[in-house]
Symmetry: C3
Subunit: 412 residues, 3 copies
C-alpha cells in the first residue's frame, strides 16, 4: 500500500518536474504528408464539403456567428371598432367585444342565443335530460340534481311548458334556456369589424424596442392613415387594423361558418430581427390560423355564456346570453440576432474540429485501398513493442543517443 | 520597419506557395502504437466509458440525434359545467365561473361573503381601522382618508351600528362590509363541478398539430362519451372533463379547506412528442399542483371581490360579493423531437472529439507508471533542439538528403 | 464490378482483422517538441488566453458548469388596495380595478369620461364623421352605416343637439358619447393605491419553489408588516405592496401625464437563482418599464370602454364609461442553475479542444518566421512520395525490416 502510494507521489513529482522543465517547449503533432493525388483529392473534397456545410448552413442560414435572443417581452393592446345593426338595435364594441381591458385575448360575439327574463323559481326540466320524462310524481326523486340537468328536482311531475308531455319539475333559473331561447340571426356586418392591435416588443439583452406601427409618416398624416387603413399583406403591411373578414379568409375559414359555430383564431405576430442590419428592417409579419380544429366538428367552435342581471319589481332577474363568436388569441413570436465574437469563435472551433475529424475517413481509404505495401501504415503507425529482451538490446545499441528507434532494427 | 514588413510579406508568400504546392497532399497525424496490454486495456476501458455515456445519455436519454422544438403554440378553451343548490337558489356556471370567455385562467367561486344593498352615503368606520375609535367629534379629522379604511372621515363621531361604542363617521359605500356581511356556507356540490379543457398545440417547425380529445371513437359515440366521461389517469386518460374534486385530490389539497380559504391550482398539460414514432403516441399527460403555498397561511388562498350594480328607486346600489374560490391556471408544456441529420452529426463529432481527448488520461498513465526507461516518451516526443552549432553540423552532414534527422545523431 | 466488390469486401475484412488484432494496442499521436523559447512563450501565451477566457467567461460568468432552467412555472395573484374620493362619491377597488380575478394583468382606472343614460333610439350623428353634415334630408342616405360613425342613418337631416347646424340622424345608443360625455377629473389619490403582487415560481427540473413574500418574520409580525409595508428597493425589498406612484416614478413616467392619457406599465419580476448557494439567496428583483411608447403620442396611452346596464321604466339604458387608466402587465423572468457533472464535462472538453486548436496559430508562426532552415517543417511533416521506382528500390533495400523509410533516400 505504502509503496504504491509512494510510487503515485513519485510519479506525480516526476510528471510535475517534467512539466515544469518542459514548460516553455512548444509541442505540435507530427504529421505524415502523403504525396498521393487520389488521396489528396478525396481529402480536399471531404474538407470542402464540411467547410461548405459550415459556411452555408451554420454561418449563413443559421447565423451561428450571432448572439441570439428569443422570447422578447411583449405588450399587446387591442381595441375593436365597428358598429353592427341588429334589427332596430345598434351594437357597438362595448356590447360585442369582451373582455374590455384590451389584452392579448379578445372575443367578439357574432351571434346570440338569448333567454330573456329568467328568475329563480320552479319549472319543467328539459326533456332530453336523463330520467326527466315522467308520467306521475313518483317518477321524480325530490332533491335529486342531475349533472347535465338544470337544477334540483322538487318531486313533482308537470307539463313541459306548452307541450303535451310531462317532465319533472325543477328548482332553477326559469324558464330553462332550451325552451325559452330566442335565436338571433348572425351579425353579418361583423365581417367589417376591425381590431386594432398595438404590439411593442423589447429584447432586454440587446436593449432593442420595436413597435408594429408605421412611423415614417408625419404625425398628422399618420393619425389619419391609422384611422382609415386596413391591414393587407401587400398594400398596407404596416397598418395595425385587421378586418375580421380578412383574418377569417387568411385563416382559410368561411365567415358565415364562423358565425354559425364560433371559432378561435390565432393572430401570430412574427418578429425576426437581424440587428446587424438597420433596425428599420425589423418589421413584424402576421399570420393567421384557426386554433380550434374545424374538422373535429363536435368539439370545435367557440361560445360562452354570460348574463345581464337586473332587478324587476324587487326580484332579481337576468337575461342569459349564449354568445357564439370569434376569439382572437394574439401570439407573439420574436427572435433577434446580433454579431458577437463568442458564438463566432465557438462555431469556428467546432468547424475546425469537424474538418480535423475528416481525416478518419481518408485514413480508412488510405489504409484500405491505396496502401498496397503497407508503406503508409508503417509510416503513420510507429509501433513500439514491449519485448523486454529486444528492448534491452536496442536500448544498449542506441546508447549515447537519447533517442532510440527500436522497431527499425537497423543493424549497427 | 520595412525589412520586418518585407519579411512578413515574404513569409506569407512562402506560406501560400507552400500551401498551393502542397494543396493536393494528404496530411494525417503520425501515431505511435504501443503494444502494451495494460495500457491497451485502460485505453479501451476509457473509450468504452465515453462511448457508453454518449450512446446512453446523449443519444438514448437526451435524444441528441433529434431536432427539437419547445414552447409550441397552444390554444386553450375552458368551460365549467355543473349546478349547485344554495338554499332556495340555483347557481349555474354563468354565476359561479369567471371570466366567461373561457381562456387559460378560469375561477369558480366556492363560498361567498355577501354585503347586500350598499349605497354611497355616510356610516361608521370599521372599529379595527387605526384611530377609528372615538369618543367625541374632535377625535375625527374631517377629510382624512385612512389607507386601510373605507372612506373619507366627515369629522363626526357616531355610534358603531347597533353596538354601544363609537367610531368616526365616514363617507363610503354604506353599510361597510365588515359589519353587514352575510357569510354563506360553502357550495359543497362544487366538488362535482367539472371543467372541460380543450387544448390544441401546434409545433410550427414540424408542422404538427395535436389535440387533447380522443378521436378514435366514432362521431356519435364520441359526443356521448365526452358528455359523460370524467378524466381519470387510469380509466379515462383521454377524457377532457376534470372534476374539481379530482383536481383537488391530485394536488393533495382538502376540498373543504379550499372552500374555506380558496386557492390557485395549476393544471399542467404536458406534451412530450417523439415524432419519429407514430403521431398517435403523442398524447398529453396531466398533473396538478397548488400554486399558492398553503403552509404560508396568511398569504395563501384566493378570493376576489366584485359587485352587482342596480338602480333602486333611482339610487345606484350594489351587492358586494367577496368570493372565495378555486382559480385554475392551465399551463401547457410541450416539446417535440424528430430525427435530423445535423444534430446527429454534431453529437457524433462531439463524441469522437471526446473519445480523442481520452488519450490525455492514457498518456499520463503511460508516461508516469509504465514508461520505465523513457522508451515511450522518446518515441512519442521528438525533441528538436535549437542549438546552432549542432544544427549547422548535422545540417551539413545530412546534405544531399532533403530530410534531416538531427537528434538521431547516427554517424554517417 | 465483381472484382471491385471483392476488393471492398477484402479491404473491409483486412481492416476489421487489423482492428481486432490491434484492439488492445494503445494509440497516441506522435508529438514534436520544439525547444525554442520564443515559440514556447507564444504557445503558452495563446494557451493562457484561451484558458483564461474559458475560466473567466464560460465558467465564472456564464456558469457553464451548471445545469440551467429557464421559464419556470409562475403563479401571479394581484389585489388592488386603496380608496379614492371623487366628489361626493367613494371609489373602492371593486369599482376602479378590473378584471376582478387578480391575474397577471390588472388595470386601474384613473380618469373617466362618462356618458349617462344612453338608450337605443335616434339622434344626430357626430359632426366630424365623414358626410355627416347636411342641410336637407336628401344629403343623408337611409340605411348607410359609416365605419367610423355611431350607427345607421335614417335618411333625415336634423339639428345637432343644441347647436345651430345640422347632421344626419342615426339610429344608435343616444345621445352619442362625443356630445353627452362628462369628463371627470383624474383620481389624484390613485397615486397612493397599492397593488399587492403575490408570485410563486416553480422550477420543475430542480424541484425548487420560491415565493416573493418575506418569511423570516414571525407570523403575527408578518401579517402586520404585510398590511402596512410598501415596496422600496432599498428599505423594503421583500414587501409585495407596490404604490402606483412608486411604479410610475420607477418607470420614469409622470403620474399626472398617466392620468391624462393612460398607459401600460410592465412590472418585471426577475428571479436569478444560483441553487449551489443557500436557497434563501434566491430572491426576486423588480423592474418597471412603460410598455406602450410615450413618444409615439397618437398611439400610446391606455383606455377602455365599458358600460353599466340597467332597466329604467322597462327600457334598457346604460352608462357608458371610457376609462383611462394604468394597466399593469406582470411579467416573470426566471432562471436557475445548479452544478451538474455533464455540462461541466462538456465545457471542459470544449475548452481542451480549443486549447488544442491553438497549435494552428503557433504552427503558422513556427513555419513562417522561425523555421529558417526548414528543420522544423522537415521534422513535423514526414513526406511520403509515391514514386513507383524509388518505391520498389527502397522497398527491396529495406527488405528484412518490416519498416521502410522511403523518403530518407539513405544510400545503402
Amino acid at each position: 500500500m505504502s509503496t504504491a502510494f509512494h510510487k503515485v507521489i513519485m510519479g506525480l513529482y516526476d510528471f510535475l518536474k517534467e512539466c515544469f522543465s518542459g514548460f516553455w517547449d512548444y509541442e505540435t503533432p507530427k504529421v505524415m504528408v502523403v504525396k498521393n493525388r487520389t488521396l489528396g483529392v478525396i481529402y480536399r473534397a471531404v474538407q470542402f464539403l464540411v467547410i461548405t456545410y459550415f459556411i452555408w448552413y451554420v454561418f449563413i442560414s443559421q447565423k451561428a456567428y450571432q448572439d441570439s435572443e428569443t422570447h422578447p417581452d411583449s405588450s399587446i393592446y387591442t381595441l375593436m371598432k365597428g358598429t353592427a345593426v341588429h334589427g332596430d338595435d345598434i351594437l357597438d364594441s362595448v356590447e360585442y367585444a369582451s373582455p374590455s381591458e384590451g389584452g392579448d385575448v379578445i372575443s367578439t360575439l357574432l351571434r346570440r342565443d338569448i333567454t330573456y327574463d329568467q328568475k329563480q323559481g320552479t319549472c319543467a326540466e328539459y326533456y332530453k335530460v336523463e330520467n326527466a320524462n315522467c308520467s306521475k310524481d313518483a317518477d321524480c326523486v325530490p332533491g335529486e340534481v342531475d349533472f347535465n340537468g338544470h337544477g334540483r328536482r322538487t318531486g313533482k311531475c308537470i307539463q313541459y311548458y306548452n307541450h303535451t308531455f310531462k317532465t319533472c319539475e325543477i328548482q332553477s333559473w326559469c324558464p330553462i334556456e332550451e325552451y325559452a331561447v330566442v335565436r338571433e340571426p348572425a351579425l353579418v356586418e361583423a365581417i367589417n369589424f376591425t381590431v386594432f392591435i398595438r404590439n411593442y416588443i423589447h429584447f432586454p439583452k440587446f436593449k432593442v424596442l420595436r413597435g408594429n406601427i408605421e412611423d415614417s409618416l408625419g404625425k398628422r398624416r399618420k393619425r389619419k392613415y391609422l384611422n382609415k387603413c386596413q391591414y393587407n399583406e401587400e398594400t398596407d403591411p404596416y397598418c395595425p387594423n385587421f378586418r375580421l373578414g380578412y383574418i377569417a379568409s387568411q385563416a382559410r375559414e368561411s365567415f358565415s361558418e364562423l358565425c354559425r359555430t364560433g371559432g378561435v383564431i390565432g393572430v401570430f405576430i412574427n418578429w425576426d430581427c437581424n440587428l446587424d442590419l438597420n433596425p428599420s428592417y425589423c418589421k413584424p409579419t402576421y399570420s393567421f390560423r384557426r386554433l380550434d380544429v374545424r374538422k373535429d366538428e363536435d368539439n370545435s367552435g367557440y361560445y360562452y355564456r354570460f348574463a345581464k342581471y337586473y332587478s324587476k319589481n324587487g326580484v332579481e332577474s337576468r337575461t342569459l346570453i349564449k354568445a357564439y363568436g370569434i376569439r382572437l388569441d394574439i401570439i407573439v413570436h420574436g427572435q433577434a440576432g446580433k454579431f458577437s465574437p463568442i458564438p463566432t469563435i465557438i462555431s469556428s472551433v467546432t468547424a475546425m474540429t469537424s474538418v480535423g475529424i475528416c481525416t478518419i475517413i481518408c485514413d480508412w481509404i488510405m489504409l484500405t485501398f491505396i496502401d498496397k505495401n503497407e508503406v503508409y501504415s508503417d509510416r503513420k503507425f510507429d509501433e513500439v513493442r514491449e519485448i523486454a529482451s529486444a528492448f534491452e538490446l536496442s536500448y544498449i545499441g542506441s546508447f549515447g543517443s537519447n533517442h532510440s528507434d527500436l522497431s527499425d532494427g537497423v543493424p549497427l
